[in-house]
Amino acid sequence: MYFDSLSDFINMGGHGLYVWSSYALTLALMAASILLPWLNLKRTRKQLRRQFAREAANAE
């Protein structure tokens, strides 16, 4: 561990705000890069499933 204490770690020698805002933004965008396509994939599967079920019902 490079830092002596937790407050040292958060403060980052006065650069805390720069460091933590950079990391927060990056993590948020990374999470979005996974979550959005994941939800979209689930939604696509659900829609197609419903569509196929409807078509099968109509065909009968």
Binding site: G16, Y23, L29, I34, W38, L48, F52
Partner: protein
């Protein structure tokens, strides 16, 4: 050899094969992303020693450098996929190109914003219209252009060709980004790490960077596969295998 190439061509062009194989790859990308990024983050934020000139703000490097690196690398992949799509008419290449664009844009955005934040304590300014920063901004607009073009054009084949062409033409910007720090006067420092040379920093400083770069690549794979899989299902909604796959049980 010829037969092997023929099989490869058919497989690469087959949406069904693509969907199945990416389903097998996906968990590996998920695991690699989580392990590499967690390791890199902990090492970079808590264990790497402070830079004696820049203080702790240098820790922004561990996200700024991988993001900027991927921003360019994803763009080249997108252009390469465009070439494959145009020359060999492999449909899946366009699906991959389409899936690459949003992640590439996100990476470019991360590198621009973290660079601006890093610039404040280091240069005393968050932005400067110099060659490196401007060419990265152009890269961001190229990504937005490709995404907008995809939305604006139809049918799909026309959009695919237009996006591929724009991506290929935009590749000219990549060497400009790379050499901008050597060709013009700039605040931006030259590359801290080269693939061909031993890094000029201790292992405790460059190892986290290595983990982060690999972790960013794994996350890229994860995101692209998710997007590409959804797109394959949408494009192939009329084919038998999708129907079979999404049958109500």
């Amino acid at each position: 050899m010829w037969n092997w190439l023929k099989t490869l061509y058919h497989r690469l062009g087959s949406p069904k094969w693509f969907y199945q194989i990416t389903g097998k790859w996906l968990p590996w990308f998920v695991a690699a992303s989580l392990v590499l990024l967690t390791t890199g983050l902990v090492m970079g934020l808590a264990y790497a020693p402070m830079d004696y000139q820049q203080g702790n703000s240098f820790r922004i490097m561990y996200i700024h450098v991988p993001a900027a690196f991927l921003a360019q690398s994803v763009y080249m992949m997108m252009a390469a996929a465009g070439v494959v799509m145009l020359v060999w008419k492999i449909k899946m290449a366009d699906v991959v190109a389409q899936a690459l664009a949003p992640v590439g844009a996100a990476m470019t955005f991360i590198s621009l914003v973290t660079g601006a934040i890093w610039g404040m304590p280091t240069w005393g300014t968050w932005w400067m219209w110099d060659a490196r920063l401007t060419s990265m901004l152009i890269l961001f607009f190229l990504y937005l252009g490709v995404i907008a073009l995809r939305e604006a054009l139809s049918p799909q084949e026309v959009a695919a060709k237009a996006c591929a062409l724009l991506a290929i033409v935009g590749v000219i910007n990549i060497p400009i980004i790379k050499y901008s720090v050597d060709w013009w006067y700039t605040l931006h420092q030259p590359a801290s790490i080269k693939l061909t040379e031993k890094p000029a920093m201790p292992a405790s400083m460059y190892l986290p960077l290595l983990f982060m770069v690999l972790g960013f690549y794994a996350l890229l794979g994860w995101s692209v596969l998710l997007r590409a899989r959804a797109e394959v299902l949408r494009r192939e909604a009329k084919s038998g295998w999708v129907r079979e796959l999404l049958k109500d049980k």
